[in-house]
Structures are given as C-alpha cells and as structure tokens.
C-alpha cells in the first residue's frame, strides 16, 4: 500500500478529517478513532505524523488561521482603497463558512477550548488581534487615529458577535450572508460618522 511522498497528503487528510469530526461530534466527542475513521486511515498514523492527538488539534487550528489569512491576501492588492479593504476583511471573516459549512462549529469549539489550552490561546490571540489591527489600519486612512482605534474595536466586536450568534443558532448560508451585510453597513456607518 505505502507510496513515497505521502506525508503532505496524509497531513492534510487528517486535518480535514479533524475539522469534520469536531464539527459533527464536538471536541469532546472527537477521538483518534473518529478522526482516523473519517480519514480512512488507521489510528496509529496520527501519532506518526503529529506526535499525538493534541499535535493534530493544534495543526488543525493553525491550518484554519492560515486559510483565513490567505483568503484576505487573495482579495486585496496594492491599489485596494481603505473602504474596499474593510469590506474584504469582513468578507474573509465570513467566507470560510460558505466554503465549508462545518468550519464554523469547529472554530467555536477551538475557541472555547483555548480558555484551557495555552497553545490554542496563543493562536486565538493572534487571530483576534490581527482582525482588530487590520481594521484599525484601514480606518486610520479614513479618520483620526483615536476614532480609528475605537471604530476597529467596535467593528471587531460586531463582526464576532454577528458570527457567534449565527453559529449558535445553527444558521444556514443565507443567514450568514445577512450577517455579512449587517457588518458591512455598520462599518460604512462608522466611516460616515467619524470620516474626515
């Protein structure tokens, strides 16, 4: 059965299977068996490639964070203006949902666990601060620095709040699209309010 050069393939297979299992069974219900079964591989392979269950969990979170980051990078370029950039940030934060419906539940599980897992908490902070500083960067081109920072804090909370409530109510894609629109119009209203 074995072929050479399987490592990257298997790693991705196991990460995908982890997202799937956490979305379906929760972090509590996710075992090395549920993951390896989803991936169509044996349980031992997890320790082989990730050192253990914990290593795979952390690799999965890192993968999700990278996906979010890449999504935004793919949308903007050097001639994107500040307002457009703000809209792209919002789109990126709601985009993972549209690609894979199971991703949102998985995120929430990981964030809850980050309260009791140092490495997950570190990763969560990177994500949370990146959202706010990305927003602040663009707001600063549209208003004074103090207002910009305040606008970034409020926008980040609004985005996360809309997202959280949509996830918890097990919303469909339409509902997420609705939340994306609300977030965008809130950011636009902040620009009108404080904009120079």
């Amino acid at each position: 059965m074995p072929k050479v050069g399987m490592e990257p393939v298997r790693r991705q297979q196991l990460i995908d299977a982890t997202i799937e299992s956490v979305a379906t069974n929760g972090l509590q219900g996710t075992t090395i068996n549920s993951i390896s079964k989803n991936a169509g591989l044996s349980s031992g392979i997890i320790s082989h490639y990730f050192g253990g269950k914990q290593g795979l969990i952390e690799a999965t979170v890192r993968y999700l964070l990278t996906s979010l980051k890449q999504d935004l990078i793919g949308k903007v370029n050097h001639q994107t203006n500040a307002t457009e950039r703000l809209m792209f940030i919002i789109e990126a934060n709601f985009a993972l949902v549209q690609q894979r419906n199971d991703t949102t539940r998985t995120w929430l599980s990981f964030w809850a666990q980050s309260m009791h897992d140092e490495e997950l908490h570190r990763l969560q902070n990177v994500n949370s601060k990146r959202l706010q500083s990305n927003l602040a960067f663009s707001f600063k081109q549209l208003m004074p620095i103090e207002q910009a920072n305040q606008a970034a804090e409020l926008s980040a909370a609004m985005i996360d709040g809309l997202w959280l409530r949509a996830v918890l109510s097990k919303s469909d894609n339409n509902q997420f699209k609705h939340c994306e629109k609300l977030a965008k119009s809130y950011v636009l209203s902040l620009i009108k309010q404080y904009g120079a």
Copy 2:
C-alpha cells in the same frame, strides 16, 4: 453525617462546584470526580441528585439562565423608562462576570457544547432570543418597529461580541467594565440615530 432537608443545599453545592470546575478545567476536563471534590462530597451523590453528570450539567446551565433573568427583573420596575431599561439589560448581561469571575468561561464552554447537545441548544436559544426580544421591546418605545428590530439585532450582536472578545482574551473586571460602557454608548447612538 446525614441530615434531613439537605437536597436543596446539596444541589446548589454541586451546581456551584460545576461552575467552578468548568471554569478551571473546561467542559472536557470536568469529571464527576473534579466536581464532587470541589463540592467536598462523594462522586456518587451526583447520580443521586441529578441522575448523572449530564443532568447536573443541564441543571447548571438552567441555574445560570435563571440568575441572568432574575438579575434583570431585580433592576427594573414599572416606572423604568425605555432607555433606562436598555441600560439595565446591558448591565445584567455583564453583571454575572463581576459577581463571579469564573462564570464567563463556563458560559462559553456551555455554548460551544450546545452545538452538539440538543437540550443545551434549546436553552441557548431561549437565552439568545430573550436578549434580542428584551432589547426590541424597549427600542420599539423609542423608534418605528422596523428600526427597533434592526437595532435589537445589532445591539445583541454587539453585546455578545464585546463579551466574547473579553472572555477569550481572559480580561479582568476593568476590561469588562470598559466593554459595558462601549455597549451602552452604542445603544445610545442607535437611539439618537433612529429615535423619533
């Protein structure tokens, strides 16, 4: 050791111990042993009073929901005006934090789990919808119904978002106070914007 009429005392003891354990160890790390140890009781007592671990978990969530509800009821009376009532709703939603620092983490754990537990999800929906309809009720006295509903949806998201970000960044009470102020001024700005 046994005394008569211990039931309500023991139940509360075990619920308090559950909040404590979930805050410290997370829902994953919470066992009937960690709970009973916190309560200074034996593990068997959990099955006796709650039928099992799951029953105790659900009773704990119901207790938290009731506390939140009572907190709001205690603040308002028949001569509270709409704007005051909105401020009290926000205060109540941030108040549990101040009383007990460990409560917020516990909430987040429960909400994450609600994605994979029918009864918890039902309770979560009650809470989520109550916040929004409480907000809508007061907004309707200050603006047209359509704007009131929109304001309620946005305010609920803002409150939950500020709360979520504060919890995840392991904020102290000052940070929560700051978030409470932001939420209040956001609601006031909505009243100014749409208010008749």
